[in-house]
């Protein structure tokens, strides 16, 4: 199963937000950590894909007035999701190590 780079970032954000991960917070987290502003459409599209692949699970939260009476959909990182993140990270590290005289560790 493959993990796209944007999906990986979303997955990281979901993990980082623990039990407060829903559309708006994930978007804000991504903005804060990457500087990019993903569109809501792109974000939800990624979330649906991740859920389909089983990397995140979702549960519905309460409705609030500021959301026009609509419920929040909270996302949680699943076991597979976590494993996937680790794998992706390791794979990248392994790859980067092959560059001579290059270190990923900060100076």
């Amino acid at each position: 199963m493959k993990l796209g780079s944007f999906e990986e970032l979303v997955l990281l954000a979901v993990g980082a937000l623990k039990d407060d991960a829903y559309g708006v917070t994930i978007k804000e987290a991504l903005e804060k950590n990457t500087g990019n502003k993903p569109s809501i459409g792109a974000l939800h599209s990624a979330l649906y894909r991740l859920e389909e692949k089983g990397y995140v699970s979702s549960s519905e939260g309460g409705a609030t007035t500021e959301r026009g009476g609509r419920r929040k959909k909270y996302y949680l990182l699943t076991g597979t999701g976590q494993k996937m993140l680790v794998e992706a990270n390791e794979q990248r590290m392994e790859f980067a190590k092959q560059i001579p005289g290059f270190s990923l560790k900060p100076e």
């Binding site: 569109s39 459409g41 939800h44 026009g68 609509r70």
Partner: protein, 882 residues
């Protein structure tokens, strides 16, 4: 609590419309939350903008409704389609009749539409065509009304000078007049002559008015010099292949001292113009006889005008009347002609738009073969009738078959189909049928087009490649399919499920009122068409077999004999020596169309200043003419060489005698300037179309040498013509012999009439076929429904004839009603049509009997096929399943 403001409503609606319910819950919530935050941070308008952009960003596959309607609709359509095809396959006979009848109708309509489009396109392409007119003379005396286009020579010049509304005026002579008509044609440096037709005389202004396009030469000056000639592109290609014909010298009729220089090549005239010439001779500096150009005596010039923009036609007509009084009436008074007062009273003018010439000239005497707006209407009506008949078949068959579909309708309703769905289904089906029929019809039209062209003497082509044609076809396909499907779909979809599923629906045992109405309509139309076809054909037969007063058979007319010059008498003598030749005559005047004609004013001698002249044909013939033509002298005697005075004698026809008012005209003297002694009266013969009345005619001895008519005695035309050709070759080695047979020429005169009759008959037959197809299917259906009834009746002792009677009486009643309706309609329409003919047949009762009988026989035969089969069936076979 804080007031939450709202993002643009339409964007929100759009979001709700596009997203599936699961997605909308979270996404809309997120968007609204973000909106709130952005609004407080960046202001309402920025928040709005972001909101719209975000909404657009949501338009992705994951969010979009797995559109319940769309996909389901598609599935439904697939199902409709499948059911329609299954139905089509299951009831092969109905489907074939439904589609076949429809396709026939469509093919007929396509052909007729092509024909009409071509007829309506005549003379519509000239620049400023709405300002171009042909001036028409009128004679408004009640009882002898008439219209004709020929004007006097100086008329055009006066119109130009005295009517300021006129921009250009020009004259055209499209008659057999001097070099007009046909001539021998050769390149100056060749010796062999070719026969060419379609010569006219015209002013330069004719080219200017009509804007005739030229492929080479200057159209502005082509006809300004005498002794020039303009030829058409196709004739240029024929006589000067691969060369530039401009400046080439040509010789007409072998007269080498009158050469003509080609000054222009015009593009070949299209088939949809009333004009029909390939060669234009200039009228510049032409005078056909001394003083001709300035005399108001003789009308030989068709005059065309182009008015200035915004000119008032009424004013022009008023000024034409002024010209009439100022010049023509003055001329008549100077001549002491008593007609002057009548001219003041009855002579008028008309401006005929050039685009009307082809279709609106049936009452105008010119020499063109015109179309007729009445025929256009007739064919338009026939096309619509045929299409209607085909649609009615469709509707009738669909509703008649309703019983077969009733269970389907009931079941569909039970599982939740609403009326709208069912209407949709049946409309889909009907449009599918329409599509198949139109495709087949188009194919059929393609196959039939060559025959139709032959029948109608046209060169029509299917504009398959044209977008407009395709679009029209598709649109008509949809419209016809929709309209034809409308009634059946409403009818079928209104069944009540409980009743049909219980089997309560009366199984079409009685045809509904509408169904009967449509059958009546079909057969009324068919009977009217049959009556029309019978009468048209009778009238045509009457015309073609009418006693014409001369013997047209076994007469060959040799043409172009003027080039024989002085040898012509020797040639004639030699001809008469041939054993096959009975007689021969030299003249230009023959009683078939498109021959030389001369209209003269005649008076009884000494009464020129008292009486109004009698307009009579003035024919110059030779001593053998009357005998060769097989005409009959009923009073007096023929011209005779022995009588020296016969060179100033005259023979008149009966009509002339009648108009002169002579009981015994022999010995009386009449004059057209030169007084002559009447020595004989010839029995009236038709020298124009048999459809017209015979006009006064006189014959004198004269020398007109363009043609020799030969009466051949032998039955073997071929060998007779061979010996005549050999004789000709001895005299004229450089000029191929050219002849035609008078009976053929005569038949050609009525080609148009005959064609109309044939086309009419064909479409009438087509209409009947379509109507019978429908009747056949209906009767088959009825029989199918009544199979068990027939079985039971048989078991209970009904005879075959009992059953036959009970099964057919219903249809026969409908046909009887149709006959009652159709008889008066056909009768009155055809009576009116026959009024167009001077010599028309009477509509007699037997026409009605024939058409009524015909339709009865055809329809009974149609019904009987299935009925007899059903009636003869062993009842056990139909009943054993009960």
């Amino acid at each position: 609590m804080r007031e939450y403001s709202h993002p643009p409503k339409w964007a929100n609606r759009f979001l709700e419309w596009i997203c599936s319910p699961e997605v909308i819950e979270t996404v809309q919530g997120d968007l609204l939350e973000l909106y709130g935050k952005r609004e407080s941070k960046k202001g309402k308008s920025r928040a709005n903008l972001h909101f719209i952009l975000d909404v657009l960003s949501v338009c992705r596959p994951f969010a979009i409704k797995k559109s319940r309607y769309n996909s389901n609709n598609y599935a439904m359509f697939k199902n409709y389609y499948k059911v329609a095809i299954r139905n089509l396959m299951r009831h092969k006979m109905y489907s074939a009749i439904k589609i076949g009848g429809f396709a026939l109708g469509v093919a007929a309509c396509i052909l007729i539409a092509l024909f009409l489009q071509q007829e309506l396109s005549y003379d519509k392409k000239y620049a400023d065509g709405n300002r171009i007119y042909r001036i028409i003379n009128q004679w408004n005396e009640s009882g002898s009304e008439g219209k004709w286009p020929a004007m006097t020579a100086p008329f055009a010049g006066v119109v130009r000078d005295e009517i300021p509304e006129v921009e250009i005026v020009g004259r055209l002579i499209p008659y057999n007049w001097f070099l007009g008509g046909s001539n021998l044609f050769r390149n100056a440096d060749e010796v062999q002559n070719t026969f060419e037709e379609r010569f006219v005389y015209a002013d330069q202004e004719i080219i200017d008015i009509l804007g005739l396009p030229f492929s080479s030469g200057d159209p502005k000056t082509a006809l300004t010099e005498p002794n020039t000639i303009v030829i058409s592109q196709r004739k240029a290609e024929k006589h000067f292949p691969g060369q530039n014909p401009i400046g080439k010298t040509i010789i007409l009729n072998d007269v080498s001292d009158d050469p003509r220089i080609i000054s222009g090549v015009m593009e070949t005239l299209p088939s949809n113009t009333h004009l029909d010439f390939d060669f234009i001779l200039p009228l510049a500096s032409v005078e056909f006889w001394p003083g001709e150009q300035t005399s108001w005596c003789c009308s030989n010039y068709e005059t065309y005008v182009k008015l200035k923009p915004g000119a008032n036609n009424e004013n022009v007509l008023e000024k034409l009347i002024t010209i009439r009084d100022k010049y023509y009436v003055t001329y008549l008074r100077d001549q002491g002609n008593q007609a002057a007062d009548d001219v003041l009273l009855y002579r008028g003018f008309e401006l005929q738009p050039v685009g009307d010439i082809h279709l609106y000239s049936s009452d105008i005497r010119d020499r063109y073969n015109h179309g007729d707006i009445k025929i256009i209407w007739m064919f338009g009506v026939i096309a619509i009738l045929i299409l209607l008949l085909a649609c009615i078949n469709f509707i009738n068959l669909s509703t008649a078959k309703s019983a077969n579909r009733a269970k389907e309708v009931g079941l569909r309703k039970v599982v939740g189909s609403v009326k709208g769905n069912l209407i949709g289904q049946f409309l889909t089906e009907s449009i599918l049928f329409s599509f198949i029929s139109f495709s087949l019809g188009l194919l059929l039209a393609m196959v039939l087009l060559p025959y139709f062209n032959e029948l109608a003497n046209k060169q029509l082509q299917l504009p398959i490649g044209q977008g407009q044609f395709i679009v029209t076809l598709i649109l008509s396909m949809l419209i016809v399919g929709f309209l034809a499907g409308l009634y059946p779909s409403f009818y079928l979809s209104s069944f009540r499920p409980i009743e049909v599923l219980k089997g309560k629906l009366s199984m079409g045992s009685k045809s509904s009122g509408l169904q009967s109405g449509m059958v009546i309509f079909q057969f009324t139309a068919s009977v009217v068409l049959i009556i029309g076809a019978v009468i048209v054909n009778r009238q045509m037969g009457f015309i073609l077999n009418k006693k014409i007063g001369f013997d047209k058979d076994q007469v060959a007319i040799i043409q172009g004999t003027n080039t024989l010059g002085d040898k012509i008498q020797t040639f004639k003598t030699e001809l008469k020596k041939l054993p096959e030749v009975k007689n021969a005559t030299i003249t230009n005047y023959y009683p078939v169309s498109d021959m030389k004609r001369d209209q003269n004013s005649m008076w009884i001698e000494g009464r020129e200043e008292i009486d109004i002249s009698i307009g009579a044909q003035f024919w110059r013939v030779d001593y053998d003419y009357i005998e060769t033509m097989g005409m009959e002298i009923i009073q007096g005697r023929n011209f005779s060489k022995e009588m020296a005075t016969d060179s100033i004698s005259i023979i008149i026809n009966e009509e002339m005698a009648r108009q002169l008012g002579f009981e015994n005209p022999l010995g009386e003297r009449i004059t057209n300037g030169l007084a002559r002694n009447i020595i004989g009266v010839v029995k009236d013969f038709h020298f124009e179309s048999v459809t017209d009345a015979i006009e006064p005619l006189v014959m004198v001895i004269g020398r007109r040498t363009n043609m020799i008519a030969v009466k051949v005695s032998s039955d073997d035309m071929q060998s007779s013509m061979n010996s005549i050709s050999q004789l000709w070759e001895r005299f004229m080695p450089n000029q191929p012999i050219r002849y035609e047979f008078m009976d053929q020429r005569f038949a050609e005169m009525y080609d148009n009439v005959k064609r109309t009759g044939n086309v009419f008959t064909s479409f009438a037959i087509l209409a009947i076929i379509i109507a019978c197809l429908g009747l056949f299917a209906l009767s088959t259906f009825m029989v199918e429904q009544k199979r068990k009834e027939i079985g039971i009746r048989k078991v209970l002792g009904a005879t075959v004839s009992n059953l036959f009677h009970s099964l057919t009486s219903n249809f026969l009643k409908l046909i009887a009603i149709s006959l009652i309706l159709a008889f008066p309609m056909g009768w009155f329409t055809m009576k009116r049509w026959l009024e167009n003919y001077e010599y028309g047949i009477d509509v007699t009762w037997d026409v009605l009997l024939i058409s009524g009988g015909l339709i009865l026989i055809i329809s009974i035969a149609t019904i009987s096929y299935e009925v007899i089969r059903a009636v003869k069936m062993n009842p056990a076979e139909t009943l054993h399943s009960e």
